[in-house]
Symmetry: C2
Subunit: 272 residues, 2 copies
């Protein structure tokens, strides 16, 4: 999906919501465990209940590959089931030397038809570039994550006064354009989002950490949006585990709708 | 496998060789492509031909998951086929927020019985810790990688004068002991290996970059070993693609033997 198409989806659906598909067998409704593929059955209900309210889904690979090849089958079925008007982010946090990264890119862009994959920057340019060579496909680079551990390295101050995450953003902007590169910018760091937006005025940000982790949508919009929206705000647990009863699809929709209603106000207010 | 057991294997086999299992369908002998599972058939021959000469195998997940669930089946068969006296490193470069990293640890330590998994440090402590909670299992943390891109961030100087990779090593040594934590230290940076050894005198290093990438075994031993060896030196392409004919197992063995003979001299010379 191109940038223009993504922005069009945001306008059409009045939403910039991304729903994280992190299916955990210990948390999903227990009546699904008897089915042949509980993970896919769970995702199917969530996708049916929410796909008109969100513009993206983000399956987190850890929750699939821990079940081995069976889990990868569930991932494949999930990716194929997601409607074509939704952007698909493989949240895989990959990254290796150039030749190897090329295979990871092949995995998520060819073997599975995802639009984007999350990548860690530690190994530098040659680990990142192979993900940027695929027209219409996206690399979502970890810049400023929403977890506590972000302070260990991402916030370390460099000799030139910049923090490591600022350096990651500035360098990587030479590697890809705003039509192939997005950044992960955690919602739990509202003031930093503003800094990142100044560094990267035109890039989309994937923003985790709203809801369960404490980030506020209002702050993310205030500090992180640009004149084309420029945001995909993710919620996982708050939506998909809204209920663990037979009504889980209905309850997930209610939660997604609450967020989408707030988002629609912003889309209209700022005329995105 | 515990540290004592690993050192015992190094003494018994007079080798600290790790063989990278990066099966690429465009490079493996073409006669294997007709078999039901070419990747596993290739690995099987390599393992049969070399397991008395190496102490570890390192399957690189990118080369398996690009074939989807079928590739993960080949990975599973490979892990199960590797003899019990060999240390198995899942070269997966994972790392995510704590709850997610726990699932990645489960994948490689429980779903598949690997001894170790490679992890990227960018997301900090909570992304790393779940890999260190499993007795007898290992986290191999990226510190100083062998690729060109390493210079982009790993060598950046921090405000306190340290380079980022030094900070990664120093901080992470508070998270795990030398019985659960190893570091990736690229052979292409011989002088830096000496610095890393000073920072982490007792930890094992996984050293890629010898051979095809230009690093020399002699330098790695000189600058990187400790009094228990403390090294797993990896070679992938130089061994597994020594020939692409029907003699590929024989030629792989020859290459591995060349390295093992040199290693045996060091094991004896330094009385490891």
């Amino acid at each position: 999906m191109t940038k223009i198409e993504l922005i069009q989806q945001i306008r059409t659906k009045k939403s910039f919501l991304c729903i994280g598909l992190d299916p955990d067998l210990s948390k999903i409704p227990q009546h699904l465990l008897d089915s042949e593929d509980p993970i896919f059955e769970f995702n199917k209900v969530i996708i049916d209940a929410t796909n008109d309210l969100c513009v993206a889904y983000k399956p987190n690979l850890a929750f699939y590959e821990c079940y081995g090849s069976k889990g990868w089958n569930s991932f494949e079925k999930t990716v194929n089931y997601i409607p074509k008007d939704c952007f698909i982010i493989a949240d895989a946090k990959r990254g290796d030397i150039g030749n190897t990264s090329r295979y990871y890119a092949k995995t998520f862009f060819e073997t599975y038809s995802c639009d984007a994959v999350t990548v860690a920057p530690y190994m530098g340019s040659d680990s990142v570039l192979p993900f940027l060579e695929n027209p219409g496909k996206w690399l979502v680079l970890l810049a400023l994550t929403s977890n506590d551990g972000a302070s260990d390295f991402q916030f370390q101050e460099m000799k030139d006064g910049r923090k490591l995450y600022e350096s990651v953003i500035e360098k990587s902007m030479n590697w890809g354009t705003d039509e192939s590169l997005m950044f992960v910018v955690g919602a739990t760091k509202a003031k930093e989002i503003e800094k990142v937006r100044k560094l990267a005025p035109n890039h989309f940000f994937l923003v985790p950490g709203v809801g369960a982790q404490g980030g506020k949508l209002e702050d993310v919009v205030k500090y992180g949006s640009n004149n084309e929206c420029g945001l995909l705000v993710n919620s996982s647990r708050g939506i998909i585990y809204a209920s663990n009863g037979v009504d889980f699809g209905y309850e997930a929709r209610k939660e997604a709708l609450n967020i989408q209603i707030e988002m629609a106000l912003y889309v209209e207010q700022f005329n995105w």
